[in-house]
């Protein structure tokens, strides 16, 4: 699945590795109980690269590089030990990029009043402002005045999102009235809200739907009503928010009827967002993608919404279903 330009691994450059080391050393010294796994997870590295980093540190220090001048760095059992590195006791200041990213994201989210009811984010940002060097802060505030982020959605969507994210954080069941895009009808259902998230320009809720008896994905702008309940629930331990928000459509398109679409440039984002089975460039420049679904109606709606930039190629069922849906819609325009 293509997802924009490849990430640059911090291993790729000496600067990236140094940057990590300057943060890793003080962090490990401040957390002497940290295990190998914890350090690897926190710094997004493998055991091998941690071992290589420790080896490098073990050979480094201050002149004249005698036994007392080199750092201590090794693994003891499952614990990581770093010592004799007092000059690295503090992490370096945030780079301007790190500070800018944190600040811009913070400002954007602080704009969502419903997510920051008690002003925790505003308070945190004020503390951050207080410690940034003056020239960095000036630059960041100038940038912030040139950046406008609207994560909002309409008024009712905001209200629903507020109730849902509160219920998700408190592990409380909700009752939803929901408009199904593929069937075009309304239904009420009890849902355990696991995670509220954004993807491809929309807010979504994923959770356990008691009506369907399984995990379901809901688009927040199709939620007509939400009622919180006081019934508690437990999010399944195997549900991983990071992995989920990376690929929210996960297994939904792995099997079922295989559909082929030719995507013009305006519809090419579909290839980035849906887990497609295969794709190839056509001589006319369009991208032919294949995806599998158990819900043909969903693909029909997608094709309509993108019309005429996503041409349904096959199978015949899909072409017929699209033709039928389009004729029905066009009838009202006659």
């Amino acid at each position: 699945m293509s997802r924009g330009p490849a990430q640059r691994s911090p291993e790729a450059s000496a600067a990236g590795r140094l940057q990590r080391l300057l943060v890793l050393v003080p962090w490990v010294m401040a957390h002497p109980e940290a295990t190998v796994d914890e350090v690897c997870e926190r710094f997004g590295m493998t055991r091998e690269s941690l071992a290589a980093d420790l080896e490098l540190l073990f050979m480094s220090g201050v002149p004249p590089y005698g036994p007392g001048d080199l750092m201590e760095a090794w693994i003891e059992g499952e614990r990581v030990h770093i010592g004799l590195a007092d000059y690295f006791a503090s992490a370096p200041r945030l780079t301007w990029r790190e500070a800018a990213g944190l600040y811009l994201a913070g400002r954007a989210l602080a704009g969502l009043r419903e997510l920051d009811e008690h002003g925790a984010l505003e308070r945190a940002l004020a503390k951050l402002e207080a410690v940034l060097p003056a020239d960095q802060l000036d630059r960041i505030q100038d940038l912030a005045s040139r950046v406008s982020v609207d994560l909002g959605g309409g008024e009712s969507e905001r209200n629903h999102r507020a109730i849902l994210s509160r219920a998700a954080a408190a592990s409380q069941r909700v009752v939803l009235e929901y408009y199904s895009g593929s069937r075009g009808d309304l239904s009420r259902r009890k849902v355990d809200p696991w995670l509220v998230f954004t993807a491809a320009g929309h807010w979504y809720l994923v959770g356990y739907c008691h009506r369907a008896g399984g995990e379901r994905l809901f688009r927040l702008d199709r939620v007509v009503e939400v009622e919180p309940t006081d019934e508690p629930f437990e999010r399944p331990a195997e549900f991983d928010p990071v992995a989920y928000s990376k690929s929210p459509w996960g297994g939904a398109f792995d099997e079922g009827l295989e559909c082929e679409l030719d995507l013009g440039p305006q519809a090419a984002w579909v290839a980035d967002w849906l887990p497609i089975l295969s794709s190839r460039r056509r001589p006319d420049g369009r991208l032919r993608v294949k995806l599998a679904t158990h819900e043909l109606a969903w693909v029909v709606r997608l094709v309509l919404r993108l019309a005429p930039d996503a041409e349904p190629v096959g199978p015949p069922e899909l072409r017929h279903a699209v033709a039928e849906a389009v004729r029905r819609e066009l009838a009202v325009y006659a």
């Binding site: 945190a124 440039p265 309509l304 005429p308």
Partner: protein
């Protein structure tokens, strides 16, 4: 001696030293500076720039009170990230913001700031994830250009037209409906334009990569919110008339639609609603079985798109 080892030893030495060290002293003390003369100086300059890029402030100062010679040092107070002393809910809120910035990629370099603040990326209830895609390399270039007021060049493909090269003075970055836009003055068209990042086909580069200093001023009257209105301003939006079945009508009401008269004999309702997002309005209508009645222009667009699709599926062109 590899470069990263040289740099680790260099930072340790400059942090640990009590007085500025001359370049010759540095070269003598830190393994890896085997060069001499001009090439040593160039090597050290490159290292110094690299460290500054990482936020490590290598400073210059006289090595003695007579100022006879200058040397280098790192002031530990300027180097060290001060403690933020955050309350637990503040820690969780900041972690949430950092997660939003790095997006689902969880790029470790985007999260490195958190470890500097001794924050846990997983702090707080993980029940909400916004995605701002802040780790995108194109966005990094644009942030740089907006901050330094540098003109940019890129290849852009507008909806339904062929790509062309644009030269733009980037005034602002705007995030709407999950996508970033850059708004600014398009030199060739001599007009204000906004460009969706996903439609930029090349990378973004600076028009004058080596030029120093700002290349434009942002006019006082410029307002990023006006170029790309936010969703929360229905009053300022033009009004459309639509017709929809009962369920889709409820959906339209969520977008601020008000019923206009009673249900028709066909069970459909006429509604008037604000066109909050012109780009996506027709997508939304034809994707949800909603008929656009007015404005005529959008009605024609909706009908034209549906007819185009019908021609495709009936034509059997593939």
């Amino acid at each position: 001696m590899r470069k990263v080892e040289r740099l680790v030893n260099l930072v340790a030495l400059l942090l640990d030293t009590h007085r500025p060290l001359t370049l010759d002293q540095v070269a003598e003390l830190v393994p890896g500076y085997e060069a001499t003369g001009e090439s040593l100086r160039r090597m050290f300059e490159r290292d110094k720039e690299e460290l500054r890029g990482l936020g490590v402030p290598v400073e210059r100062g006289p090595i003695d009170p007579w100022g006879s010679e200058e040397g280098y040092f790192i002031d530990p107070r300027a180097y060290a990230m001060p403690r933020l002393d955050l309350a637990p809910d503040e820690r969780a809120a900041l972690a949430l913001a950092a997660r939003a910035w790095s997006g689902p990629s969880q790029d470790p370099s985007a999260l490195s700031g958190l470890s500097k603040l001794d924050l846990d990326p997983g702090a707080g209830p993980d029940a909400l994830r916004a995605n701002l895609d802040g780790a995108s390399p194109v966005l990094a270039t644009l942030i740089d250009a907006v901050t330094r007021r540098k003109r940019i060049v890129f290849t852009y493909r507008p909806p339904g037209r062929s790509p062309s090269e644009r030269q733009v003075n980037p005034y602002a970055l705007v995030h709407r409906r999950g996508t970033w836009y850059v708004a600014g003055h398009d030199s060739k068209r001599d007009a204000l334009r906004s460009f969706r990042l996903s439609r930029i086909e090349s990378g973004v580069r600076l028009a004058k990569p080596t030029g120093r200093g700002p290349e434009f001023e942002v006019p006082e009257w410029f307002d990023a919110g006006e170029v790309l209105p936010t969703a929360g301003e229905p009053d300022a939006s033009p009004i459309a008339t639509v017709r929809a079945g009962r369920a889709a009508a409820r959906l339209a009401e969520l977008r601020g639609a008000k019923p206009d008269g009673d249900e028709g004999p066909d069970g459909r309702v006429t509604l008037r609603m604000p066109i909050i997002d012109r780009d996506g309005f027709v997508d939304w209508a034809i994707g949800n079985g909603v008929e656009v009645v007015e404005p005529e222009e959008l009605r024609a667009q909706a009908r034209g798109r549906l007819e185009g699709l019908l021609a495709q599926v009936e034509g059997g062109s593939t």
